[in-house]
């Protein structure tokens, strides 16, 4: 019983220890929520396949700190996004802005879909034409009867 109590106590104690360690992150839940919402659609410059919200790179940690501070200063989401774009370019945005150089990016998939649909229509039409039932000519009917007779005879 004593050991169980001691173990339980140790567990509880470690729990509070962990909680204390995480405190600075969750100091202000509202700020944290907004920060994560903003940074989860941004690219980390250091490890480019990770979002700024998820990355543990030094720069990402610093940038999250900057963004947290800007939120506390009452900056709008747009101001924060502009801050990032001014420094790192549109590349930081996972959703690039719509402009002449990104039209292909935005509409490319629809273009491919249109091509695919056009190809499908052409293919189906062609196949439909091939499958159309045609009446046999007199010669073909004679040949078919001939073949059937041979089969009968062979059996």
């Amino acid at each position: 019983m004593k050991t169980v109590m001691a173990l339980l106590f140790a567990l509880l104690a470690s729990g509070t220890l962990l909680a204390r360690e995480a405190a600075p992150l969750a100091a202000d839940v509202a700020v944290e929520k907004r920060m994560v919402a903003i940074t989860s659609v941004m690219r980390c410059l250091v490890c480019q396949n990770e979002s700024l919200a998820a990355s543990q790179a030094d720069l990402a940690v610093d940038l999250r700190r900057e963004i947290r501070e800007m939120i506390k200063q009452g900056k709008t989401d747009k101001q924060i996004r502009d801050f990032m774009v001014n420094r790192y370019g549109d590349f930081v945005l996972y959703r690039p802005p719509m402009m002449a150089s990104t039209y292909l990016l935005w509409f490319g998939p629809f273009l491919l879909l249109a091509f695919g649909l056009a190809g499908l229509v052409v293919y189906l039409r062609r196949r439909g034409a091939q499958l159309e039932e045609k009446d046999l000519s007199a010669a073909e009917i004679r040949r078919a009867e001939e073949l059937l007779r041979q089969q009968e005879a062979g059996r």
Binding site: V46, Q48, D62, Y88, G89
Partner: protein, 176 residues
């Protein structure tokens, strides 16, 4: 025969895309800086050698100069050090350093070990100035013109080839 032309065409296009990705010198990690042809962000930092002295890019108005972002923990900065040494000796342009997210003692020891090509170093301990300059991989080097406009950014170590092909011709042009 025609049946094979379509897959062959697609294959050639695919190979073209792959070849583009393998182009020598192409680094997908390199992000073009939006700060090119924009004013260099101002700052007012203490100097690495003496915390009582300050340095601001404002002081460099009217001169073409280089700002090299480095740190004692940065491995490719060691590779770059001899190139910068030679550049500083050539006197093509004054070279200033921005010691990024570093400790003063570590940085001083690094300079003693790998050489100090800098006129002076500004000390950016918490990396805030680095963020304003869009630094995301150290070393990075900025060429700043007489009006305080950033004209070129070298991402990664300055190499002899980069000096010869880009930086030195640009300095010549800007100094005219």
């Amino acid at each position: 025969m025609r049946r094979f032309l379509i897959p062959l065409g697609l294959f050639v296009v695919l190979v073209g895309f792959l070849a583009w990705g393998l182009k020598p010198g192409y680094d997908p990690h390199e992000v073009p800086s939006p700060l090119i042809n924009k004013p260099a962000p101002n700052f007012d930092l203490t100097q690495l050698a003496d915390p009582k002295l300050k340095f601001s890019p404002q002081e460099m108005r009217g001169r073409v100069w280089l700002l090299n972002v480095w740190a004692s923990w940065c491995v490719s900065c060691r590779e770059e050090a001899p190139v910068l040494m030679r550049f500083a000796q050539s006197g093509a342009a004054p070279l200033y350093g921005l010691d990024y997210k570093d400790k003063r003692d570590d940085a001083q020891a690094w300079l003693a070990r790998f050489g100090n090509p800098y006129v002076l170093n500004a000390f950016d301990g918490d990396g805030r100035v680095g963020i304003n300059y869009g630094v995301y991989g150290v070393p990075e080097t900025y060429v700043i013109d007489k009006a305080g406009i950033i004209r070129y950014k070298q991402i990664g170590p300055v190499t002899d080839a980069a000096l010869r092909d880009k930086i030195l011709p640009l300095l010549k042009e800007l100094n005219q």
